[in-house]
């Protein structure tokens, strides 16, 4: 890490419920410490459209469920030094991947009931992204450096993993899926 600048921290949101980000906000006053220790340069909590270059740590919530997620995750990986799979959907697929038990067409039929909508969604108009046939975990698509399970991970565990990675240390393990 360049010692002359604060490390750059990004958080991203793919196919998840945003619960991991809510837990991130539960850092409460520790967000102030975090903002002092790192430059939070991109997040769904901020109004920035493009994932920036030269990110040191990226926390990625959610599974890869559509073509936008696929593209965004590859960009995030290419531009980030350390990528953390943030929460169960990113790590295991979790609830987002429960649809993998059924063919995509059946899911769309059950959700919309209208064959015309189902047809439209199999080749959707811009900017609606096409759903992938199967929901993927982050490490199915890119290399992941650290995994933080939990649905959602507790604020403490989020703080601990960021602090450890900032300090160049191995994050603590022993975290449960779910809970």
């Amino acid at each position: 890490m360049d010692l002359n600048r604060r490390p750059r921290l990004a958080t991203a949101w793919l196919g998840g419920c945003s619960g991991c980000h809510m837990s991130f906000l539960d850092l409460d006053e520790r967000l102030i410490d975090l903002a002092a220790a790192a430059d939070i340069c991109y997040s769904p909590l901020m109004d920035i459209k493009e994932f920036p270059e030269a990110v040191d740590i990226a926390l990625v919530e959610g599974a890869v469920a559509n073509e936008d997620h696929l593209r965004d995750l590859r960009t995030i990986r290419a531009r980030s030094k350390t990528l953390i799979a943030f929460g169960d959907c990113a790590v295991t697929g979790n609830v987002t991947a429960m649809r993998n038990l059924f063919p995509l067409e059946n899911i769309l039929e059950a959700a919309y009931g209208d064959p015309a909508v189902v047809r439209a969604l199999s080749a959707p108009p811009d900017p609606v992204p096409r759903l992938l046939g199967r929901v993927l975990r982050l490490h199915d698509v890119v290399e992941v450096d650290w995994y933080l399970p939990g649905c959602p991970p507790s604020a403490d565990s989020i703080f601990e993993i960021i602090t450890a990675v900032l300090a160049g240390k191995k994050p603590p393990g022993g975290r449960k899926f779910g809970c």
Partner: protein
């Protein structure tokens, strides 16, 4: 009854004649991971998580099936054993449909706790997402095959403690599954007494009480030991 002295993880431990390494270790407060062995039930040696190293033997041994012997030197926690256990837990997680966040035993599941204890923070294998069913035909109990790890604890509790033998395993390999009676819906079973022993013994959320919402079902297979002791001592409280 003769007593053996052996060494487990550098500690001197005593075991009664015929006692397994697992029982001797547990008596001494040494934790060996396991998912299928339950004190008081027969041991099938199915889960392979309790494999240990014994000095002078070039094969790993299942602690639940290997008798403690005089002078044995056992190691339960080496980096190779740890790696093997992580692999086994990852295979179990990849094999079924385990979604902890929406499970009735979230927070109390033995598979979930073991994964955390072994630092399994992700699964290296591609999940199978098998098409499995849920049997909700019984009035009070449910059987969700998605969460079943085929440890057969339920089968043994039902057969060996309740004496009903309602449950068994049908099929082979990846089609293996728990059945009730002759693979009929549980609710139609004539042999099931409705005792609930299977539900309490199941380490995962595969067997559950129907009226419990997510994350509210605690289980404890320790009751088997109590029943056996009560029968032996003829003390019924």
């Amino acid at each position: 009854m003769s007593v053996h002295t052996l060494e487990i993880d550098g500690r001197m431990v005593t075991a009664l004649e015929g006692e397994t390494i697992l029982a001797a270790a547990e008596d001494a407060g040494i934790f060996i991971p396991k998912l299928c062995a339950v004190e008081g039930l027969s041991a099938p040696g199915a889960c392979r998580l309790c494999m240990v190293e014994i000095a002078g033997q070039n094969k790993l041994r299942a602690a639940c099936l290997t008798r403690a012997a005089e002078g044995m030197v056992v190691r339960t926690e080496t980096s190779a054993l740890r790696e093997q256990r992580k692999l086994l837990v990852e295979l179990l997680l990849a094999e079924g449909n385990h979604v902890c966040s929406v499970c009735v035993v979230n927070g109390y599941c033995e598979l979930q706790s073991l994964a955390a204890a072994l630092d399994v923070d992700h699964v290296r294998f591609t999940p199978r997402y098998p098409a499995r069913t849920i049997d909700l035909s019984h009035e009070r109990f449910g059987l969700d095959h998605n969460r079943c790890i085929l440890c057969t604890r339920c089968v043994r509790a039902c057969d060996e403690i309740e004496g009903a033998h309602t449950l068994d395993v049908a099929g082979r390999g990846r089609t293996a599954r728990i059945i009730t009676d002759l693979a009929e819906p549980w609710g139609h079973s004539e042999s099931c007494t409705g005792c609930g022993k299977c539900v309490r013994t199941c380490p995962t959320g595969a067997l559950f009480l129907k009226n419990k919402p997510a994350a509210e079902m605690k289980k404890d297979s320790g009751f088997i030991r109590q029943i056996i002791a009560a029968r032996r001592e003829k003390i019924w409280i």
